[in-house]
């Protein structure tokens, strides 16, 4: 209860600077430092769905990497349910990711040598939680059923369409019932029908699982389906003030499935 009262994610004045090491140039002093993002302030409540929009190259993925603990900020602090994650080492951040965070990527990123079912089982099998591990297969089947792929359990990623792959990825993201879900351009690699199907699924499952969602996109229409939208421009983040209606009416999943066929 106490934990739920804490914001899911808080970013305190974070920035990321990278050093461009161009090995082919001989002048060693000409090391170029570029600051990709700076002065980022944000706060996300538990159960909230938040969109981060911005043009290509504006630093959306960089920010997502920092928030998810995949990368460390150059300055500033990131709090995950009150816990500072920028001071943890890679192993500890991995432990947080495996228990509390789910991911969906633009390129689906399924393990090619595992079947759909095994891909969904993967995070459960990596889990420290005994029950999740033992129920990995059962739950994987359940989640694949929810995304409408119960007939594709034994297919390998290269035997699935892009939309199907992303649905497998969604099932994979939900299987450990994470507190926080990161999605980086989940529908950008899909045609509009499949893209919408995937978006609908994502929002529907997110709502029923009461997961906090951080969605990165360049698509304002998709961003509109989130409760809050941050805009990133030239490395700076700002909250979009315009109040907007809550979750646009979601296409029923059954109908969407029909569309896809």
């Amino acid at each position: 209860m106490n934990k739920d009262a804490l914001p899911a994610l808080v970013a305190n004045n974070i920035s990321k600077t990278v050093i461009l090491s161009n090995s082919s140039s001989n002048n060693a002093d000409a090391e170029k430092k570029i600051t990709i993002i700076s002065d980022i302030e944000l706060s996300i409540e538990h159960g909230e769905s938040v969109a981060i929009v911005g043009a290509s190259g504006s630093g959306k993925s960089t920010l997502l990497g920092l928030l998810a603990g995949l990368d460390l900020p150059t300055t500033g602090a990131i709090e995950f349910y009150g816990k500072q994650i920028q001071i943890l080492d890679e192993e500890d951040r991995a432990a947080i990711r495996r228990s509390d965070i789910g991911f969906i990527f633009q390129q689906f990123l399924l393990v090619p040598s595992l079947t759909a079912l095994e891909n969904v089982m993967l995070p459960a099998e990596l889990s420290d939680n005994n029950e999740i591990r033992t129920k990995a297969k059962e739950n994987a089947q359940k989640w694949l059923d929810k995304v409408g792929l119960s007939h594709r359990l034994d297919h390998f990623p290269n035997q699935l369409s892009g939309g199907e792959q992303q649905r497998v990825a969604i099932a994979r993201a939900f299987i450990t019932e994470p507190k926080l879900l990161f999605a980086d351009e989940p529908s950008a690699n899909l045609d509009s029908v499949n893209g919408h199907l995937v978006e609908d699924l994502l929002f529907e499952l997110n709502k029923s699982a009461n997961t906090t969602l951080v969605l990165v996109t360049h698509d304002p229409a998709l961003a509109k389906r989130c409760e809050k939208t941050y805009i990133i421009k030239d490395g700076h983040l700002s909250l979009q003030e315009v109040p907007k209606p809550k979750l646009a009416d979601v296409t029923p999943i059954q109908k969407a499935k029909q569309d896809a066929k």
């Binding site: 993925s61 960089t62 997502l64 990497g65 995949l70 990368d71 890679e90 192993e91 991995a94 432990a95 947080i96 990711r97 495996r98 228990s99 965070i101 991911f103 990527f105 390129q107 990123l109 399924l110 393990v111 090619p112 040598s113 595992l114 095994e118 993967l122 995070p123 099998e125 990596l126 889990s127 420290d128 005994n130 591990r133 033992t134 990995a136 994979r172 980086d184």
Partner: protein, 600 residues
């Protein structure tokens, strides 16, 4: 905790199942099979051939080790040997007149215990013709076994006197394992029980007697005995083993072994290059999978368990296959060599297994771990920044590991510092040359590419430059392999040449000795009937060379000139008046001895 590990192992096995049979893992597996089977085949072949020759030689000695002495051997030696679980046997050799009625003949006597023979087999033919030849231990007290020639020389008497003792002749010696080399042996031999010696009263102060203690047992115990006995020996006592006895053959064999094992290195080296290349490709292909797993929260340890288990599975499976293939190849080799080898060859010892299993694991680990280590260190951020952690190039330290491993293997197989040094030195020189040449070529390419407009050519040159380190290390690997082939080729020639030089040109394969003057004509006739052209017939006399031109010869015989028979006092007597003929067919080494003795 346990179930966690099991889940990871299950995941690992699943990945393994999917990957095996296609792609890089198969290449890695096949490479390990190649390395293990070649090492297994070569080392078990040389081991078995060597062991069988040593065993045969042990039979010639009728023991594994013997202690030869002109004076009686202290009983502490036997007690110590027995305390080490070594079986012992005592011999006394002397020569004496043997009498039967009015006949008499000089006899070479060997007194033995009932443990005789410790190695090899003694066959006795009973005096009554009906009974079968039987296998025997030493004769019982009061009995002797004598050679056929002595039997006839003494008028087929069933009772003979040696010195003051009278003995029943209870059999004819049919085959005696430690029979002296029979060129000069008169063949008038007596084997008696050592407890009958006092009866004969032949051993008097000053009489020429040779004592021998014989020992057979486990190699370790024998070694312990040897290190205990050796410091106590007087100058005239000798502690000898089969190896010393068969030194010519064993040293040739050892050289052959080094040579063959170097051939094994070739297999291992090729495997190493293949493994390191495919491990790198495999790692490259799995960067994403690992980045995904890490993003999903896999710890480095989980990733290590999952991937190293796969490697171990591959290693174990391929090592097993390699062992089977290797022993199969070895059997084929043995069958095709059967003509030249003793009939019963001992089983494969544990050594070839150890050597090839070590080889398999060393190959699997040392040559793929550098690539895998890179793989384990892939940052999870790769899921967002797609090219992060790309270019699993081998670092200097990884290449150093591989180079050290290769050199270590060369030494491990050849057990020869000089050879290892040669390979190492040549490898270094070659590597430096290759690096220099490739650098030069790259520089030339770069300056050329500035003047070239063709974009695809530019791209090719750029990628060549980017991957120059890897390309160079592969080239070095293959060049080393080629270099090894050349070394092997020249070594082969020199080994064969050395062997050939041991035997003089046109050395005969068979000898006939103890031909009496009046038989020469008959024998020549017989030869010409059979169409055989013998060398000249030589008369044999026994004498001592004291001086060659002005050089006075040493009175003491050099050690190598001792062959067992001579030293033990066997075959001390030439008996050219006898007319029995003996045909000898012996190994090259024996031939050589025969020649030496014929010409001295």
């Amino acid at each position: 905790m346990q179930s966690k590990l099991l889940t990871w192992l299950g995941l690992s096995f699943r990945l393994f199942k999917r990957e095996f049979g296609r792609g890089e893992l198969t290449v890695i597996a096949l490479s390990i099979v190649l390395a293990v089977s070649s090492v297994m085949a070569l080392s078990s072949l040389t081991d078995r051939v060597q062991a069988s020759i040593l065993m045969k030689s042990a039979e010639f000695l009728a023991a594994d080790k013997d202690l030869v002495s002109p004076t009686e051997i202290k009983k502490e030696v036997y007690e110590y040997a027995e305390s080490l679980n070594i079986r012992t046997d005592k011999h006394i050799y002397f020569s004496s007149m043997a009498f039967a009625g009015d006949k008499m003949n000089l006899a070479v006597v060997k007194a033995v215990t009932q443990n005789y023979p410790l190695r090899g087999e003694l066959f006795i033919e009973p005096l009554n013709e009906e009974s079968e030849i039987f296998k025997a231990k030493g004769p019982e007290v009061g009995n002797v076994w004598i050679s056929k020639r002595l039997y006839f020389a003494l008028g087929q008497s069933s009772q003979i006197d040696v010195g003051e003792g009278t003995f029943a002749v209870s059999g004819i010696i049919d085959a005696e394992p430690d029979a002296p080399f029979q060129v000069f042996n008169s063949g008038t031999r007596v084997i008696m029980n050592i407890n009958d010696i006092p009866k004969t009263e032949v051993i008097q102060p000053g009489s020429r007697v040779t004592y021998a203690g014989l020992f057979a047992g486990e190699p370790q115990a024998l070694e312990e005995l040897e290190s205990w006995v050796k410091p106590q020996l007087s100058e005239s006592q000798k502690f000898r083993g089969v190896k010393e006895g068969a030194s010519n053959i064993t040293s040739s064999l050892e050289r052959a072994e080094s040579f063959l094992m170097l051939a094994g290195v070739l297999g291992v080296l090729l495997a190493a290059v293949a493994i390191s290349v495919s491990a790198r490709l495999y790692s490259q292909r799995h960067l994403d999978s690992i980045a995904i797993m890490k993003t999903l929260g896999a710890s480095v340890r989980q990733v290590q368990v999952i991937y190293l288990t796969q490697l171990c599975l591959i290693a174990v499976v391929s090592i097993l296959i390699g062992l089977v293939v290797g022993s199969g190849l070895q059997n084929i080799a043995l069958i095709s060599l059967a003509e030249y080898l003793p009939k019963d060859i001992p089983d494969i010892g544990y050594r070839p297994f150890v050597v090839s299993i070590v080889t398999g694991f060393v190959c699997a680990l040392m040559f793929s771990v550098p690539a895998l280590l890179k793989l384990f260190n892939v940052p999870p951020l790769r899921v967002l920044r797609r090219n992060l952690g790309d270019g699993v190039s081998s670092s200097i330290s990884a290449q150093a590991i591989m180079a050290t491993t290769t050199i270590g293997l060369v030494w491990f197989y050849s057990q020869d510092i000089k050879l290892t040094g040669i390979v190492l030195g040549a490898g270094l020189v070659l590597s430096v040359l290759i690096i220099l040449v490739s650098r030069l070529l790259l520089v030339a390419c770069r300056s050329a590419s500035k003047r070239i407009d063709n974009p695809s050519l530019k791209l090719a040159i750029a990628s060549l430059q980017r991957r120059s380190k890897e390309n160079v290390s592969q080239v070095i690997g293959f060049t080393l392999a080629i270099m090894l082939v050349l070394i092997l080729f020249s070594l082969k020639n020199s080994i064969i040449q050395e062997w050939q030089e041991q035997i003089p040109q046109g050395a005969p394969n068979h000898f006939i000795i103890n031909i009496s003057q009046q038989n020469i004509e008959k024998i020549e006739q017989r030869f010409s009937e059979k169409g055989i052209q013998p060398e000249q017939f030589y008369p044999i006399i026994r004498g001592r060379l004291t001086q060659i031109n002005d050089e006075v010869l040493k009175q003491k015989r050099p050690e190598e000139a001792d062959d067992g028979a001579k030293f033990k006092g066997k075959g001390e007597f030439d008996d050219n008046s006898e007319t029995a003929n003996k045909t000898q067919e012996q190994a090259n080494k024996d031939k050589e001895e025969a020649r030496n003795r014929l010409w001295t």
